[in-house]
Symmetry: C2
Subunit: 225 residues, 2 copies
């Protein structure tokens, strides 16, 4: 099982290489997109892992060019939070999976395993949550409403994700604290309200129909009216 890893940051590259080799994969490495393209054309890899931001040829272009050359090798793309613009543009570049840095190594391994299983790659659809024009991509961590990208912090993302998974259900502040913060009830402070406020500013403020609603004395719901 031979894997190509493309990454311009030496430390990250070697960490990935070492980790994969410890798991008995054969690993080739490339520091930039141009070399990666050469290697990928010449060899028949089982998987290509590539960063987005690179000198020479970025991950999207690499991915697209390989696909255009008829190379079907699964591609796992590594992204960093904050490369949002690029990410949105590159969704259709031909990559099979995205993994947002920083990540656990075990998670990378899991993806490598599933992507190298024959036939399974095409079955993997990007995991997203949707509700009324609001869309969360759980792989890339990109959130959009009506196509417009919304930047969320880690905590805001987790909160919104929980509300999305329970859309239409009224969630008490204790419930939110338990599930989003892993906190029972401190309730010396009003952090849930503060974060609801943050979310509203980002998700509802510039739109006509509001999605986050207060149920007095009960909690908050994500719903249409």
């Amino acid at each position: 099982m031979r894997i190509l890893v493309v990454e311009d940051e030496p430390k990250t590259l070697h960490a990935i290489q070492q980790g994969l080799e410890e798991n008995l994969y054969e690993v080739d490495i490339a520091y930039d997109g141009l070399i990666a393209r050469q290697l990928a054309m010449r060899n028949n890899y089982s998987l290509i892992i590539t960063d987005i931001i690179m000198p020479g040829l970025n991950g999207f272009v690499l991915s697209r060019e390989l696909r255009e050359s008829g190379i079907q090798t699964p591609i796992l793309m590594l992204t960093a939070l904050g490369e949002t613009e690029d990410k949105v543009n590159g969704f259709d570049s031909g990559a099979d999976q995205y993994l947002v840095k920083p990540f656990q190594f075990v998670e990378l391994l899991a993806r490598v395993r599933s992507l190298t299983k024959r036939g399974s790659s095409t079955l993997m659809t990007h995991q997203t949550l949707k509700f009324e024009g609001l869309e969360m991509n759980l792989d890339t961590k990109v959130v959009t409403r009506d196509g417009q990208v919304i930047e969320l912090t880690a905590r805001e993302f987790t909160l919104l994700e929980y509300m999305m998974r329970n859309q239409g259900r009224v969630l008490s502040k204790v419930q939110l604290a338990e599930n989003v913060w892993d906190i029972g009830f401190d309730t010396g402070t009003n952090f849930v309200e503060v974060y609801i406020n943050y979310l509203r500013k980002k998700i509802d403020k510039n739109f006509d129909t509001k999605l986050i609603h207060t149920v007095f004395g009960m909690g908050y719901v994500l719903k249409k009216e």
Copy 2:
């Protein structure tokens, strides 16, 4: 099974009451230490849960007075981070367990269960990690070196705890990142080094013998020399 809950913050009090009642405990409540004392004297509770900071009579004094009156009811004391001074002073007030706020409700329940099991309460010793004058109380989250209290943030505490549990072992930065941050390797940044630096300032700087050592190219160790 009857439990007395003492807490001056109404929201917290009612949240605890409700949670316990849902788990089929009978709950009495008191808003301050004086009423709590009266109730505890009159009734034979299976457990008393009390906050430290309260009007009238604080948790420590309450605890001590009850013990002096011959009342052996197990006491679970709730503390908030930052009440360090008090906590250190109150270790021997007679409380059986400490729980630092904020906490998960399931954790409170677990403690309630174990404290209400006959005979088990005396077996519960405070869980602490020790190494060369350095002491971490995992219940109260109080850290001391040679008796001197050291204030740590949550992240610093987790890092030190991990190093204490692996004292003498060289821990690589990847290993620390995995276990303390749940991060595989991002390594675009040097956050581990930064936090080692924070810890050193608090734990080693004002002491002659240093406990945190760098092993060049390998990582960090907690050891004597």
